[in-house]
Symmetry: D5
Subunit: 96 residues, 10 copies
């Protein structure tokens, strides 16, 4: 089941640099593990913004929330979730 | 080059049914041709909305505009374009 | 799987009264059938507004969209879908 | 009498961890006591957000305000209240 | 129980003048009957706007909705309801 | 002359507790004196919000501003003023 | 007493040209009479918009509303009123 | 003197096709004449939108308004004007 | 050339009192000098808000920006500039 | 390929003055180098705002993001990117 997720990162400017660096390193590892598992299908950077648009393919809403609330950057992000489904004009059956 | 495009369809309720049906049939054929060409990479329906989120892979801004302004539904849609690029945490090189 | 859905009804003032009455009668029957099936768990009126908040319990995003886009009033409504899940402070296991 | 309440939690990032933990523990106990009493009918987590949608069944506006302003997290939340009532298409009499 | 209600009137410019006049006459009689009954406590015009702010004193949300949805102008208004209660700094006990 | 005023209180979470308590005590005394004088006609709490809606009856805009800018909480509030007048459907002459 | 008023004109495109011309001629005469009387102190056009910002000097809110609701274009305008007063840094006593 | 102007075109869908075509032809000629005169320095299309961003170089606000309100499409556009000036980091003296 | 400028003052609550007092004293002197020069034609306080609406009469956009960015409070204000011109219904030639 | 970029600068008021000065000096050098290279075609100050509108001419979205995210002020700016193209009414072929 597909979800469109936009994440905007807002790191407070007075967060110590080493704390931020540690969070960002863990964030990257976390995101790559989920991409390898197939649950985090796509992640794209938005030009000029500290933000991404991602596509998740998960079992249900609860699994999506577990993944998102587990993000090391979770408390420093604004997240917007939009549920999606296969479009009737799609030429692909597996792009649900 | 990737673009994120959201399209919201607003067909006036007093548009004659046959006019609308003709536009929608042409819209579907147009969208499927572009998907087959690889330029319209993804199209997803948003749950509960007469709207889609699409990912386009085009040569430049001008080609994107030509495609979007050629949509049979163009005059009945609100379109929002966001330029995207490969995310540094992406595990894929070809998901630019 | 639970979804929070808000529906705002905007019937054009120049829609013939008998057309509107027919749509509304079909809407009510449709909503009641889905409530009986358990898929439309709750429907509440918002005080002073021609709008409702509903809770749906469906298999996935696609089933939710089928239900919502099949509403006789669909073309005259603004619909906002929000995916939900069991809250960690809930005292009930079955309130998903 | 039913009210729809959305609560968005915004805990300042510089709040000491033990202070936050204490507030959250008291918040959970408070919420569960009110659920047991029947006044806090439902609480759901919104996927990907530090927020909930709740349904309260209270005697009047004053009782609702007493409950909400007594939340241990009250000063760290944005709260939006919407009064509701039985929908004419509801199949239940007691889902007022 | 008190409610703050703002009503913005949007009469379509192509509504026939006699239809509009009839609605407005019925609206005025309806509003004055409810003021006499004590349920519609206050009604004020907002300077420069075709809008009013009103204070209702009703038994519950359902009674409020019955009153508002029964307004002859209901279909031509945007209505915003806000539940209120006695303020702790108020010097009056009977100003709810 | 009547004015509708909405005040939203935003006290910074790091304001020392005794400073806040002192401001709130002075705010209450200030509000009650003005109510007794007849200039602050009504004050109501909004359910679930740290906010009030008030009705002022003052000589002119300047007197209203003197009162509002003199509020002990002034620097911690967002204030929205709306000028009002007697509504033509009002049954009362003195509810100007 | 001074008020800042912004008026945005929205004339429906299907209003007959002679009806529109008649309204506009009456609007201009009405505005000029009030300027001569001193009640409509200033009127300025906003560059590129079919809108004006005006300053009114009136006895009270009721007089302001009588003037604005009497505008021939009233039903085709969005009007926003903001009450003003002499600024403490003003060098003029008579600029209220 | 430079101005940034964004124009969004909203042509009513029931405007007769020949009327629209005539307006658009006159619009193009008008825009090209002003470009040749140097007053309309730049005009760019926004990808996917029926809108443009333009840069005008005019004598004053009045000349800008004369130009914009004279656009054949003026009544079918939303226009937003932003005054600009030379940026202190610009390497060009003549880019105002 | 006339400009409408709205300034909203947002002084951080933790700015030392003597620093704030010094800025405000310099702001007042600065504003009064410009009023005497005729460039700052009007300044009005908005009732209940820490904000003003001002009318500037300057040579061009650059002079306006020099004046505004030189305000001692500049870094603590949100400023919105709107270019204006003589209204065709104005009875005054010199109120450009 | 052209992009319209608006940048709003928000420097925290408690950033040490020498840190801010250093960032601003590097920002200016960075912007001027890119202007000389032809990639940063235009930069204009918005009157009364700590903001600019810029036009970039870059190879693709990725190059634009590299430039923008490399700005010394990047973490203190809100940036909005809009892709553009040659307008059909433009008289210039090279103003793509």
């Amino acid at each position: 089941m597909l979800f469109h997720v936009r994440m905007d990162v807002k790191i407070p400017h007075d967060l110590p640099a080493d704390v931020a660096a540690d969070i960002l390193a863990r964030e990257k590892a976390y995101a790559q593990d989920l991409q390898k598992s197939g649950k985090w299908r796509h992640i794209w950077r938005l030009a000029g913004e500290y933000a991404n648009v991602s596509i998740f393919d998960v079992r249900d809403n609860a699994e999506l929330h577990d993944i998102l609330s587990g993000l090391p950057l979770f408390k420093f992000m604004e997240i917007k979730v939009t549920p999606m489904l296969r479009h009737p004009s799609s030429i692909r059956d597996d792009d649900t």
